[in-house]
Symmetry: C2
Subunit: 629 residues, 2 copies
């Protein structure tokens, strides 16, 4: 091939203006990774999810055709980064918000700790050791020699894992007594988990996971720099055995059920790790550790621990935290040296995902009183500061994920995410994720639509269509009155997409549960909403909420807008923060012991607050002074 | 069977006078275990080794016939305890010294620590935890509840092994929130290795091993009392691949060789554990931990670590110590909760077996200067006190195990173990192990014979037969001059059993290596033999040495006899002491770092001392004032 050298081209990523030289045939996705430009992909670069869309600004690429992109888009210069290959100099525009699953990177988040990222002090470190060659006068054991070298690195006491040193004679002798030791720092005494020949210190990776009931989100992190090498989301394969947590727990009562679900989660983790490693060109063998944050049931299923008691009063979790364990012991396809860490849970209904997010925000270090809300199938709430913290979960139901809504859907391409009635003649305008034909409405679309219909008087405070509004789009459907969001001639299914009064009622119940949960939790510690310094909204969904509309509908409290902080996936952020900082991991683990759980379902005050919240925005308008009537 | 109740009989063991009631059909061996009477068995009670001989004093037993016992013996009332069953009241005499492998129990040993046994504080403990039943007001996680209970037992921080708590929901609920936790104390922070339903605190066992090249000796110990439940010895199954250490190391260069040898050792350990458990009626699942002391090569082979560097200058061991590891990781057939501990080595030629013995004697705590000698294939020597300790190994060769001796053999039944020329007419008298027909001569027999022949002038100081002695038993054989120990008409083979001048020369070389080793080691620290406070002789062989005869031949130094201490198998004793006392385990582990190894093979002074020792007892008679010429 000497007569046909590889040609190199310049690729520029805008708007950041990052330039990189690559070889002919490299994909744009791979090029972006090389340039440190973060593109989301949920399908692992197979061209099916469409979440890595970019736009050509100058030059062209060789693209493979894909169903995930329309001819219209292609005509506009849109391409899938994973299906496009460099064949000339090219300038690429990175599109934001094209993917429904785009996570907020740590750097975007606020509050004390994350104003400045935690100091890089990862849970697993690599150390190059240059050992003296043995002589007749110094024939100490190989391992003793190693321990002395570790002492010189400041590690006086180190637990030696047998598996790590089983081949020590060959390892030390292969590269002239130069070796690299991997230490795990999350144990009371550092643990030597791996020993390699020569200098391998540049390859030390970790994976952070948010283990959700529906989706598992993963980040591959370079532990030497703290930077994200790849990020992936996949559906939790357990979904084959039930969408919700209760059906998963029920399945575990079947013989072998726990092991089936455990394996499906592990399969998902394995696929995510494999894909991220392939995308970023690293060897999975160089993954030294994992941190997993997740809800209590998902964590117990990952560990194959019977979740049955979580379903029955008094809802007792099996574990809060366990000591770091070997990933191979769970069937994860990684080296024997890779250790897995679990972020501990507070209670059955407040898992390590919440603890991780709260810790990532630095609430436990702050003098200020912060309210943390994670909105998903459940709304989990934490309020407090460095001295105290209380938490509760309120059953918001699956409304914000499309559940219980006639044309509800997840925030994926085709979902209506915004709605407005435009002056002068109140023409309805919808905004659809992925610029696709509308297929349904997602959680943020629901909030925005209800807010707009309420603001314009089409919807009354009780959540019913106002008979005096005489709106052409309101009609009588098979489930009662409904609003036509999109007509069949423009929808992907050919059917009208509607929002019914029943949908709106379900939405109001959900938003009331969250607001009443916040109110009750704060009343339980005698703090008024106005005393809050910050309201932190976590969750992928939360990141897409329009604050004004959320307040208008009474989902969020009516406080000065600058108090709101949107952090995206707090769970993943917390797992990430813990893996790159052992202090953060320790603080997060302690936090679960500090937070006090409060049970709302048996709380009379909660029921009163909930009923009072079943209006738009609330029965008590004094609580929402900025919302006009 | 209600009409045929089991009948009970009284069995009395003499000379201790211990009485016990047992059922018809129980074996005498099982009855002895029940009575706490220690009988040695090396074949696991299968009737083949003959080491559990007892004598009937009153009454009779039902015995199964066995090749391991002669009709003569049976006529004398001798029986094999394992093949004899109770059918009436019976009084049994326990015979001492019938077994060549009888270990010295810890209680027989002397010196500081073992004058009083170490305080019972075992490496693994069991704790009964009675947990509060969860309520709506107290729905802490199962594991958190458990941790609080452990805190109440004084354990503030405990490492939780995932495998131990995987079934925690069922374990805690099965016996109404009463559970038993097993803690391992040899880690920097205690480790929860097992959790069981209800109260299982009475069943907590450990196994101590002396892992030798030829034989593996094991003790099953009740960790709640420190008492020995069973003791067994088996040949190391690695012997199929070579009798000596060098041939084992060589075999490891073959593909898969290490794994083959590793598995053979593990097979031996498994068989020993199985047999001891069966004999004492315990469930192997209740074995919580193991401690293994052994020579450096055997330990590396147990751990499947390449021993090749141990064979080549500068003779570097792979490991000194490793952190406790799970026995299942080595293929040992015990529960996942069982942890194995290795007593660390000082050097390739001074292993954990020596360190264990030295620690068991309390040399590291003593102001006195002690000399520790373990005589086997190698002679390992340690001298020092609480402030300093030096060690060396000297190649004594296999003489004392019968190697290099024409009719040499191990100290098993049929071996001549004593010899004397009785007045008035110097009639030779031999004493044979097991009262059997003589088959050869063992190490102690060799010392006693050479000493007697030298004392009576038949042998000269140079180890040659004295031509002026005109002894009828000295004759010219095919290998030169030889002494007839037993004639063919009385020997088991029908051939004469002889001791040749070549045999005597080999013996002298061996005893010279040991004496010169001791002398050189002591000179290296500037201490004279007369300054020694104690001389501790370890090793099964050592236990059978006649001190006077050993001094007469120059094997042992000529110091006041009360300074000699015979401790038997120091390695097994040390493993035993470590398993019942975590302080002893810690002290033993530290000891390997404190002892300084000295290489004799490259030491000029050693060669000089060795050559000077090649006489009976020595060229310098001033060193042996008590030995008359």
């Amino acid at each position: 091939m000497a007569d046909k050298p590889k040609r190199q081209f310049n690729v520029v990523f805008e708007p950041a203006g990052i330039a990189v030289q690559v070889n002919t045939g490299d994909s744009i996705l791979k090029t972006a990774l090389k340039a440190g430009v973060h593109l989301t992909t949920t399908c692992g670069g197979s061209g099916t999810c469409g979440s890595c869309r970019v736009r050509l600004q100058k030059g062209d690429v060789d693209s493979v055709s894909s169903d995930a992109i329309s001819q219209d888009e292609i005509n506009q210069g849109i391409r899938l980064a994973c299906q496009s290959y460099v064949s000339q100099d090219v300038t690429i525009e990175v599109l934001t918000n094209t993917s429904p699953d785009l996570e907020a990177p740590v750097a975007q988040t606020s509050l004390s700790m994350l104003n400045s990222s935690p100091e890089l002090n990862p849970v697993a470190t690599k150390h190059l050791l240059c050992l003296p060659v043995p002589t007749a006068g110094d024939n100490r054991a190989d391992l003793k020699r190693l321990r002395y070298a570790l002492k010189n690195h400041g590690y006086d006491e180190v637990i030696i894992d047998y598996q790590a040193v089983k081949n020590i004679p060959a390892i030390l002798r292969e590269k002239a007594w130069e070796a690299t030791a991997t230490l795990i720092h999350s144990t009371p005494v550092p643990l030597l988990s791996r020993l390699e020949s020569g200098d391998t210190t540049t390859t030390n990776f970790g994976v952070a996971f948010d283990l959700g009931t529906t989706a598992i989100r993963a980040r591959l992190i370079d532990l030497n720099t703290g930077s994200i090498l790849a990020e992936q989301t996949a559906y939790n394969r357990q979904r084959d055995y039930g969408e919700d947590i209760i059906s998963r727990i029920s399945f575990c009562r079947k013989r072998g059920g726990i092991d089936i679900l455990q394996k499906l989660t592990v399969d998902t983790l394995n696929a995510l790790v494999h894909d991220m490693a392939a995308l970023s060109g690293i060897d999975t063998d160089n993954i030294s550790c994992m941190v997993v944050a997740g809800n209590t049931v998902m964590i117990q299923l990952l560990l194959a621990i019977d979740p049955e008691p979580l379903r029955l009063s008094p809802y007792v979790p099996a574990i809060d935290s366990v000591s770091p364990l070997k990933t191979v012991d769970l069937g994860i396809n990684l080296g024997r040296h890779c250790y897995l860490h679990i972020i501990p849970a507070v209670a059955s209904y407040v898992g390590g995902d919440i603890v991780a997010g709260v810790a990532a925000c630095g609430m436990h270090e702050s003098d200020k009183i912060n309210l943390y809300i994670d909105i998903g199938t459940n709304g989990e709430i934490v309020v407090g500061n460095r001295d105290w913290m209380v938490t509760a979960a309120c059953s918001a139901g699956p409304t914000f994920e499309g559940g219980g809504i006639k044309h509800g859907m997840l925030a994926i391409p085709g979902a209506i995410e915004d709605f407005s009635l435009e002056a002068p003649d109140a023409t309805p305008r919808i905004s659809v994720i992925g610029s696709a034909s509308p297929a349904g409405i997602c959680g943020s679309g629901l909030i925005n639509t209800v807010s707009e219909l309420f603001s314009t008087g089409i919807l009354g405070r009780n959540g019913k269509f106002n008979p005096e509004a005489s709106c052409a789009r309101v009609r009588k459907g098979e489930d009662g009155l409904e609003y036509v969001l999109a007509e069949g001639n423009s929808s992907s299914s050919g059917r009208d997409i509607v929002l019914t009064e029943i949908d709106i009622d379900n939405f109001i119940r959900s938003k009331a549960a969250i607001y009443a949960g916040c109110q009750t939790l704060m009343e339980s510690v005698g703090i008024d909403m106005s005393k809050l310094d910050n309201i932190i909204i976590a969750g992928t969904f939360g990141n897409h909420i329009d604050t004004e509309n959320a307040i208008k509908t009474g989902l969020l409290p009516d406080v000065p807008r600058e108090k709101f902080r949107f952090i995206g996936n707090g769970s993943l952020m917390g797992a990430h923060a813990s893996i790159i900082s052992r202090q953060q991991y320790a603080a997060t683990s302690r936090l679960a012991d500090i937070i006090t759980g409060i049970e709302l379902s048996e709380n009379g005050a909660f029921m009163d607050n909930y009923v009072a919240s079943l209006f738009l925005p609330h029965t008590d308008l004094e609580k929402f002074p900025s919302v006009g009537n």
